[in-house]
Symmetry: C2
Subunit: 341 residues, 2 copies
DNA sequence: TTGAAAGCGCTAACAC
DNA sequence: GTGTTAGCGCTTTCAA
């Protein structure tokens, strides 16, 4: 076990005071060239590494950003975390990763833990923003940025996409292909985005096109391939004549695709499917999935950038950012066979 | 901006010394019930939260584990990180996430950064273990655990699976199905696992079955769906009569599957495909991929558990652990049409 | 059982 | 330009 070498050792070895060492370390004040040289040499010889913990204690700054996600093994979140990680690293911040399984209890624990660990800021993601969250963020003024969620009336920035309009566009795309019986598969209603926003976009598009909304054509369940599969099955059991389905995310959409295929229907000839997110696998599965592309990596990157600006006391141009989305036409969607009446 | 409340404030408010507060906080020494009560109350009233940074400085313990991965957006690594995160959290450790893109430079930077941040230990993953890594780990005695890689002659524990035998079994499975012309698609040779171990298992299985190894049937490239697709294409251009292919991981296998399908062959009737890893999407794509299942989550969990034992000074039962793997038969593999001679 | 004081490794006034 | 010193918020001797 080597003994840790500290700033004192470097000071002693180079025959200067610790403040001088600190100065060359941080370039915080001028130091004469010869002394700087001596110090640098001593650092090299001793293999000195500054203790960032100690520095953090006096500077009240850890250069650590906490990131709270429901499920890091979910392609959506891992891509997003990658974005935050890269940007953070660029600005000399590290990422403390917290996985919550979407459980409120864990989320609250992590929120508290992160503040105790003195992280400089928090990037927060949850599927279900509750009163308890709101209260916490009101009581604890930790610099934070939200992703995909938003607390009304608080100045916590957030980054997302316009889920309502994106869902509207996706549905409308199917309508323009001539589809009328368009099923909807979504997340639980407790989920503001996957349960509500996208559902509303779907309904509005139907409405604007003069198509009656029919509750029998929608299935809502927890998010997952299997639920997507089952939801599709439930609908197909009763409504064999649907010609299209819009799923609130790719995971559910892929489940739906598998179900449709397993039942012997052809995609897109018999049934068109449109997903949401454009996770990497959307383009890989066959048939490749038509979907709404979210700039997932960018969302993470922008969230990190906004947080860092906040940490630097810079003014944010906008408190909330909606990044552009895009409809990606691939192989699961086609014109409806029967003409629209 | 609220002013941070410190242990001093709590002490003042409850009319005791900071040492007493510290004692009730940590249960480190007996404190009389009345005083304990007073202190607890003061803590509640002030909303005091211990500063873990300061505690870490004196205890020389941050309860943070650094984890270094090539690509967090890769399903394999994100699942693995999930395993470490969960176990770490159970034992009161947090995860500092470092994404390297497999670049040596970034890996070294992170290694240094993590030690400066005083993490208690490091879980290290790389695709290509170099001399520089070895040197670093020799010079810095940071408690670490390796995943899937191993430094010969050092007592750094690692956890993995037996890649050689798993690849052997996968290949042998195809042989037993009657296949003889079995192509191999793998990672770069610089990659100890995806380039070497699995390749050798493949060759040995061929050898043991009396099948001549043919270099023309192997393609090696960087890891990715696209490379898998292209590698498969290259082979198919020349050798239209192969009846099976073993890919060194699922990503490449999925690329290969898509290529085979795009060229109008049927899977598994014309060509069987076996992958490696059993990433979540292996069971989702159609046809579902036959593959070797690695207990990915468990690998991460075990790595974390081992590291934490090390941090506690507990003796490890084994310095290196190979977790069990399993061949999962799904829909991309079937008996060869022509009988083996 | 409690308090005073030293010190973890560092930065930043403040003096010189 | 350089050194001395007072903390940052906490734990832990050491005395009382």
């Amino acid at each position: 076990m080597k003994i840790k070498v500290t700033i004192k050792d470097v000071a002693k070895r180079s025959g200067v005071s610790i403040s001088t060492v600190s100065r060359v370390l941080n370039n915080s004040k001028p130091v004469s060239p010869e002394i700087r040289q001596r110090v640098l040499e001593a650092i090299r010889e001793t293999g000195y590494r500054p203790n960032l913990l100690a520095r953090g204690l006096v500077l009240r700054k850890t250069n650590i950003i906490g990131i709270i996600v429901p499920d890091i093994s979910n392609a959506y979140y891992s891509e997003l975390v990658k974005g935050t990680e890269e940007i953070s690293n660029m600005y000399n911040y590290s990422i403390l990763l917290c996985n919550t399984y979407g459980e409120l209890k864990k989320e609250m624990e992590y929120l508290n833990l992160l503040t105790e660990k003195q992280v400089d800021g928090i990037i927060f993601m949850t599927t279900n923003l509750t009163e308890e969250h709101v209260r916490w963020f009101k009581e604890n003024d930790v610099k934070s940025v939200f992703v995909n969620r938003h607390i009304e009336g608080m100045d916590i920035p957030y980054v997302s996409i316009d889920n309502y309009n994106a869902a509207y566009d996706a549905t409308n795309y199917l309508i323009e292909l001539g589809h009328e019986k368009i099923a909807y598969i979504g997340g639980p209603l407790s989920d503001e985005i996957l349960g509500m926003k996208r559902f509303e976009g779907y309904k509005q598009a139907l409405y604007d096109a003069g198509i009656d909304f029919r509750q029998e054509l929608v299935r809502v369940s927890k998010i997952g391939i299997k639920s997507g599969y089952e939801a599709m099955g439930d609908i197909l059991d009763v409504h064999k004549d649907i010609t299209a389905v819009f799923a609130a995310n790719d995971i559910m959409a892929i489940g739906a695709v598998n179900c449709i295929l397993d039942r012997g229907y052809k995609i897109p000839q018999d049934i068109s499917v449109v997903g949401f997110d454009d996770i990497p696998f959307a383009s890989i599965i066959r048939p490749a999935l038509t979907t709404i592309r979210q700039p997932i990596y960018d969302i993470g990157a922008v969230a990190a950038r906004m947080l860092i600006k906040k940490l630097n006391g810079e003014k944010l141009d906008e408190i909330s950012v909606n990044l552009p989305y895009q409809l990606i036409e691939r192989d699961t969607s086609a014109k409806a066979k029967k003409r629209r009446k």
